[in-house]
């Protein structure tokens, strides 16, 4: 067991203050692990020189899988041999990030044995990230993890571990079963998750409502967002309580309704449902008084991603309302159709959203056998530069 062997005057400055310190965490791991110790050393150097000391290397992984491990190498291995190899292992989190102490402790034990003892709970895609191990530890680590019920996440050109908001587990607004959809899809797409077969990565995120607590609209190639088709049920007695409690209903709710479909005369709150866009604002502000009513389902959106290469994209609507009941075959069929199209036409490192921008919605919708409807767009096109197909002409 090693002691901290580096002077870290810069990092040490990040140990005080109310927010828990990652430096302290690295030190805790370093007290037991050489790699963690060298991480401290190299990180201090990064802070001093104001540059990274990592480099990309060959692809590493576990047998039979094409993803799940990010290979990483130090560019100063002689100075910090403990991090000469320092790969991360992505492990599928549970739906909604629910754990028991027992399960977590088990993972900690395994990781202390095979890795640096450092982790990310969680990575920003959603995986548990086991941060820093060597190539030859990968197979035994995987054997231990998988034998206890854990599997690896994705990396490279494969599907990534789907993730979701807490949904029906602890939220009154969940309009689809985020936890179950997420689990079901993760299980259904094991092959796509583990063996690169796509032009690029593919992320799926499920939110129970338009508040989108999992950021699906911004960060998922496929965003599933719970919604409803019925009216907003109003409990006027509860409305009164909000008013009595000091809420300025006209300013905070009615006045902020984007469609101006609400009214409140100091007495009765009314919603003109056909003009409600289901944005969720009023419901979240008056949760005891307002309630969406069924049918429940989800809006299916595609294409969001980070800015490379053509600028960031948000997901956009392709199915305004899809009922979602196990085994979710309607959803899986749709996913399969879009994957087939993407596989056929996508260039290397081209996300599905970029492909849609490049080849147009028409081709995408036809491949998915979806009919165009106005809910797919904010507004129709501006110019008349569309193409006609032979069978549409005289």
């Amino acid at each position: 067991m090693s002691q901290n062997k580096y002077e870290t005057p810069l990092l040490d400055q990040l140990e005080s203050g109310p927010f828990p310190s990652f430096v302290t965490e690295i030190k805790r791991a370093a007290a037991k692990n050489d790699s963690a110790n060298d991480l401290l050393g190299v990180l201090e150097r990064c802070f001093k020189e104001r540059k990274t000391h990592w480099k990309h290397g060959g692809i590493v992984g576990v047998r039979g899988y094409g993803g799940g491990v990010i290979g990483r190498y130090s560019d100063v291995p002689d100075d910090f041999p403990g991090v000469a190899h320092f790969h991360t292992v992505r492990v599928n989190q549970t739906s909604g990030f629910f754990y028991t102490s027992k399960a977590l402790n088990e993972i900690c034990d395994i990781w202390d044995k095979y890795g640096s003892g450092l982790t990310n709970f969680h990575g920003s895609t959603g995986d548990m990230i086991l941060l820093g191990t060597k190539s030859d530890a990968l197979e035994p680590l995987f054997a231990e993890l998988s034998s206890r019920g854990w599997d690896l996440g994705g990396s490279g050109s494969c599907a990534r571990t789907p993730s979701c908001c807490v949904g029906p587990g602890r939220c009154e607004w969940a309009m689809c079963d985020t936890l179950d959809i997420n689990y079901d899809l993760t299980q259904a797409f094991q092959d796509e998750l583990h063996r690169p077969m796509f032009p690029y990565k593919f992320k799926i995120k499920t939110a129970g409502c338009a508040a989108d607590c999992i950021a699906s609209v911004a960060r998922a190639d496929l965003s599933i967002v719970g919604t409803w088709k019925g009216n907003i049920q109003i409990d006027q007695a509860e409305v009164k309580k909000y008013a009595d409690g000091g809420m300025d209903i006209n300013a905070e709710v009615v006045g902020m309704c984007p469609t101006k479909c609400m009214s409140y005369d100091g007495n009765e709150l009314k919603v003109d449902d056909p003009n409600c866009s289901r944005c969720m604002h009023c419901i979240t502000k008056m949760t005891k008084a307002l309630r969406p009513t069924g049918p429940f389902g989800a809006t299916i959106m595609v294409g969001s991603k980070a800015p490379f290469v053509i600028g960031a994209l948000l997901s956009h609507v392709i199915v305004p309302f899809m009922p979602l009941e196990p085994p979710y075959d309607n959803l899986k069929d749709l996913i399969q159709k879009m994957w087939d199209w993407w596989d056929e036409h996508g260039k290397n490192r081209e996300r599905i959203g970029e492909l849609i921008v490049r080849r147009g919605m028409r081709e995408f919708l036809e491949a998915c056998e979806l009919d165009p409807i106005p809910q797919m767009v904010f507004e129709p096109r501006r110019d008349p530069f569309y193409f006609w197909k032979e069978d549409e002409l005289n």
Binding site: F47, Y65, L131, E172
Partner: protein, 359 residues
Amino acid sequence: MAEELPQRQTDIGPPNYKDFLPPVIKNNYGKWKYHEKLSGGSMVHVGESGDELYTVRVASPRLVSTDFIRDLTAIADKYCDGYLRFTTRHNVEFLVSDKSKVDPLLAELKEKKYMIGGIGDGISNIVHTQGWVHCHSAATDASGLVKVLMDEFADYFTGAKELPARVRLAVACCTNMCGAVHCSDIAVVGIHRKPPRIDQDGVKKACEVPSTIASCPTGAISPDPKNKSVKIKDEKCMYCGNCYSVCPALPISDPDNDGVAIVAGGKIGSLRSDPKFSKLVVPFLPNNTPKWPEVVSTFRNILTAYEAGAVKHERLGEWIERIGWEKFFELTNIPFTHQHIDDFTIARETYRTSAAFKW
């Protein structure tokens, strides 16, 4: 590592979440009626059955040791029958079924100096990335920035101070933006500002020329057959570092020119207004390690203006759009430069094609 290993399994996926749900959740699954915030770090969800689930939330730096996790599980065992979860912003949630355990839990957490909070209108944890801890692309560090920002804004996390609405922060250490920078209320992103340098010998030895050329999104790289190396058209390079990922002999890091940009005004939910991209606010600030004082003061500056100007429930981006970006720059005293004007794929949509604006 020569000891006997258990039989590996493949394609089993994660454990079933149902095995990790506390009984109160199983019993009220999908049947929650409402919730109430109790303090900056605690809330209760009430089921249609009347059952209550208490949640107590604490901050995590996300980059944590196994010991940190073990500390959490010990607490969960004590107060929550071992049930806990993490949030989508990497906070820790203790799921308490027994109301009487809430206060003792809070007391213990306080005593152990956990940072309790993150619930309601304020600043929750910062979505972030690897930085110098692990990524070869990083133009800045992520964990360090998160630490100094969260220290600075601790009061908005704990609930000691409130904001007009949630303010979601993010940090990404390069323009790949593994953090949710592109749609955050305020965010930092690491940027390089110079094209990669070419180590001719290194390229010859370590790199595959065709895949290096193919890695460049702007087509700035071309072969240099004479030197068995590559050439880079500087004026086409957008400093993304993709080529360095493929060919380590094209280092792009440059301490004096690497740094961060600050963006603001994004949001994700569809409440009130459509999801929005963040927009560039400050094109460059240096990596003044370990505390990035310029970054912290810029965040503070933006936040102060927002707090003073926004109405209740109005997100930062909604506030800016209401007053106009020209007012935002005026109120924050941030200089407006050529870098702010888009020249990328949708530039024309950002030009002001209207004769109406404020002074």
